[in-house]
């Protein structure tokens, strides 16, 4: 193992290389962690780490003002759950920044068994654990700052948890945004979502899957019993209820609060649906966020002091002796010892964030696996797949980093207009920066790059632009586009739509119900005719391409680029869900290259039966993990 240069490597990383991996959590003072300055609030710094809680540590961010302003108020933001967590992640960053900008110390965190925090979604009842998470963080905050006020704030089910915790913690302020008042009704919503899924099926499993997220029956049972109408708050708690401008909210809940003598303000604010749109379409509800900041400012006093973040753990131990920590991957050459009081806007301005998962023993001769953002979802990946993949790879003995590319997840881009775009222009530069940093830390010399969907696009181009020897393998999971260009739609491209339609219609041919629909005139004849026409044109185009490839040795851009990668002796793994068109896409543009590559073993294709584009079902995620574990164990042990 190589020796790092002690002055240029964050302590936590050099410790990891030199010390036994079985140590307990490393307590690191905030002064040793670098900061990120918010793009929208330049005086607000962000810092990541882990808070110890009763069950296990939870991954968290603290947002605080570097100006000499404090309201002596700690805000704990409570995420919603399931897909609403993934979709609102971006808005929560902005929300935390805005509340920090008025002088609050703001904490947002992933509940146990969600996001980047340790734990599995099944089979425990997670609700008491999540409430204990909030309580543990609040208690640490009160211990550090006994004179500070406590504000709990949450969205949807996060608002429900905030409310429940506010009751026991006797919070001073509470912001509930579209709260779930009755657990029973919310559970019905989730169950409906599970049934509306395209691959919905009845099972006798002891959990429910909704839009890729899991809920144990134990959690569902507790959820069903929640009714905020039965839970009184202390009259001293100020409450702000935010409802969607376009929705019909039920006044019973707020009336009940008022009957209890609680000072409650009700506001209807725009932006709710856009905040929870699919990740690449989300819009931050700035007006609503500003309203919460104004309300909180009205109920707190301003002091001329600077805010200091709470101490956090910098890394954690997970199951099977693997460890995890956040990193700034643009941190080469910056000192990691500046204190909050010395932080200036022109120093330590890290922008690029990632999570490193490390096996028990690090072998720097092994490549390090880099996972690139899938769509506009932050580094946990769709349905938390990347978190599981990273930990599985570490269990198999390799280091894994799940990156946030500039403008995505917790990495930010000065140009806010392009924030949250799945295809960032800086992707390859960011990837190269990450590799430089990881090499600088002596964690690896070469890399396997991979990702799902747009992550596969980034990995493919990483293989092309960075090449051998730095790239050891390219792992493309469900690619949909190989050549993204500005101006292209983020909806499914036309040729892929045809491939998807082909799969749909070929399965429909075997379905008697679809025939009945067709024969009774209920099927859309126009759609079928359009499909046949498009399919015919596409087939003719593909045949022409094959002829050129085999007779004239003429290559399509994809065929030529696959050859460029494989001629550099970089293997390509194509991991394709059976219902996804990725393989069809490669076959249509580079059939001969694919065939030859498969024969020589440099291109490997693995198809996952029954899986969809984002591996949204547990069984298929487990299949992917089993494949990853076997692949990396076999190849590197």
């Amino acid at each position: 193992m190589l020796t790092p240069e002690p002055n240029s490597i964050p302590t936590v990383l050099s410790d990891a290389i030199h010390t036994a991996p079985t140590k307990t959590f490393v307590e690191t003072q905030p002064s040793s962690l670098p900061y990120l300055f918010s793009p929208s609030c330049p005086q607000v710094a962000r810092q990541f780490g882990y808070f110890a809680t009763k069950s296990a540590p939870v991954f968290a961010w603290q947002h605080f003002s570097c100006a000499t302003i404090t309201r002596k108020t700690i805000v704990i933001l409570c995420y919603p759950m399931g897909y609403e967590y993934t979709h609102s992640h971006r808005s929560f960053q902005h929300w935390a920044d805005q509340l920090a900008a008025i002088g609050c110390l703001v904490i947002r965190f992933d509940y146990s068994s969600t996001g980047d925090s340790p734990g599995r979604e099944l089979p425990d009842d997670l609700l008491p654990i999540w409430l204990a998470n909030i309580t543990a963080i609040a208690e640490q905050a009160r211990t550090a700052y006994p004179e500070h006020q406590l504000c709990l704030a949450g969205l949807r089910f996060g608002a429900t948890l905030a409310y429940l915790a506010a009751q026991t913690l006797q919070a001073d302020h509470l912001i509930v945004w579209e709260p779930i008042v009755q657990g029973r009704r919310y559970l019905r919503e989730l169950q409906a979502l599970a049934k509306f899924g395209v691959d919905s099926e009845e099972t006798d499993a002891d959990y429910t899957e909704f839009a890729g997220f899991l809920m144990s029956h134990a959690t569902a049972k507790t959820l069903k019993t929640i009714n905020l109408m039965d839970v009184p708050l202390l009259p001293s708690t100020r409450v702000l209820c935010i409802y969607r401008e376009d929705g019909n909210h039920n006044n019973d809940f707020t009336n009940q609060l008022q009957v209890q003598g609680i000072q409650v303000e009700i506001q209807c604010q725009p932006g709710y649906e856009d905040m929870l749109a699919v990740p690449h379409q989300t819009l931050v509800p700035h007006q609503a966020i500003a309203a919460t900041a104004t309300w909180l400012a009205q109920g707190t006093r301003c002091f001329s002091e600077s805010s200091q973040p709470l101490p956090m753990l910098s890394e954690i131990n997970l199951e099977n002796e693997i460890q995890e920590q956040g990193i700034w991957y643009d941190a080469i050459g910056t000192a990691a010892t500046s204190t909050a009081t010395t932080v200036q806007n022109d120093s330590l301005q890290h922008r690029l964030f990632a999570i490193l998962t490390r096996p028990k023993t690090v072998n720097t001769k092994h490549p390090l696996v880099i996972l690139l953002n899938s769509g506009a979802v932050h580094h946990v990946g769709p349905n938390r797949v990347y978190t599981h993949v990273a930990r599985t790879i570490a269990e198999a003995g390799l280091l894994c980093v799940r990156l946030d590319i500039e403008g995505l997840g917790d990495s930010f881009k000065p140009d806010l207009i392009r924030e949250n775009h799945p295809f960032q222009t800086t992707t390859q530069a960011n990837l190269a920066t990450a590799m430089d940093y990881l090499k600088h830390c002596r964690l690896a010399q070469d890399f396997i790059v991979g990702g799902i969907c747009s992550g596969a696009h980034a990995a493919f181009h990483g293989g092309l632009s960075l090449g051998a020897p730095v790239i050891r393998e390219v792992m493309l999971i469900n690619p949909l586009v190989f050549y993204w260009q500005d101006g292209m739609t983020l909806d499914i491209p036309g040729d892929i739509q045809i491939a998807q339609d082909s799969k749909y219609y070929s399965s429909s041919m075997r379905d008697p119900k679809k025939w009945l629909k067709f024969l009774t005139g209920k099927a859309s004849t126009a759609s079928i005719v359009k499909f046949i026409k498009d399919r015919f044109v596409e087939r003719a185009r593909v045949i022409l391409k094959h002829l050129r490839e085999s007779v004239l040795n003429e290559h399509s851009p994809l065929s030529a680029d696959l050859l460029r990668i494989t001629h550099a002796n970089i293997p390509i793994s194509l991991l394709i869900s059976a219902s996804d068109p990725g393989l069809e896409l490669v076959k249509s543009q580079a059939r001969r290259t694919l065939k030859k590559g498969q024969s020589s073993g440099i291109i490997r294709v693995k198809t996952f039966a029954g899986a969809n584009h984002t591996f949204s079902r547990l069984q298929h995620r487990n299949d992917l993990m089993a494949y990853m574990h076997k692949k990396f164990s076999d190849e590197y042990q």
Binding site: Y83, E189, Q191, L193, F196, V198, A211, D246, E273, A277
Partner: protein, 80 residues
């Protein structure tokens, strides 16, 4: 009779790439871009608008597959 209200709800919550008013009563909403997430919002909006609750047996893609099917279901639930 209820088609107009349902079209309004679809316009507001379905997030379809096309104008809802160009869809016929029998057009397949899922073929026209309706997602499972939007279906839940539509379900809640219809329940609020008509003061009904979809029973478990109606919570499936078939119920929400077309305006016609939604009108039939709402009519059935209101006549119970």
């Amino acid at each position: 009779m209820y088609a107009s209200t349902i079209r309004d709800i679809l316009t507001k919550h379905a997030r379809l790439p096309h104008d809802v008013n160009t869809l016929t009563l029998t057009d397949d909403l899922y073929d026209n871009g309706l997602t499972s997430l939007s279906t839940v919002n539509i379900m809640l909006a219809i329940e609020d608008a008509f003061d009904i609750e979809f029973p478990d047996t109606k919570l499936n893609r078939k119920t929400f597959s077309s305006i016609e099917s939604l009108v039939e279901t709402v009519t059935e639930l209101l006549n119970r």
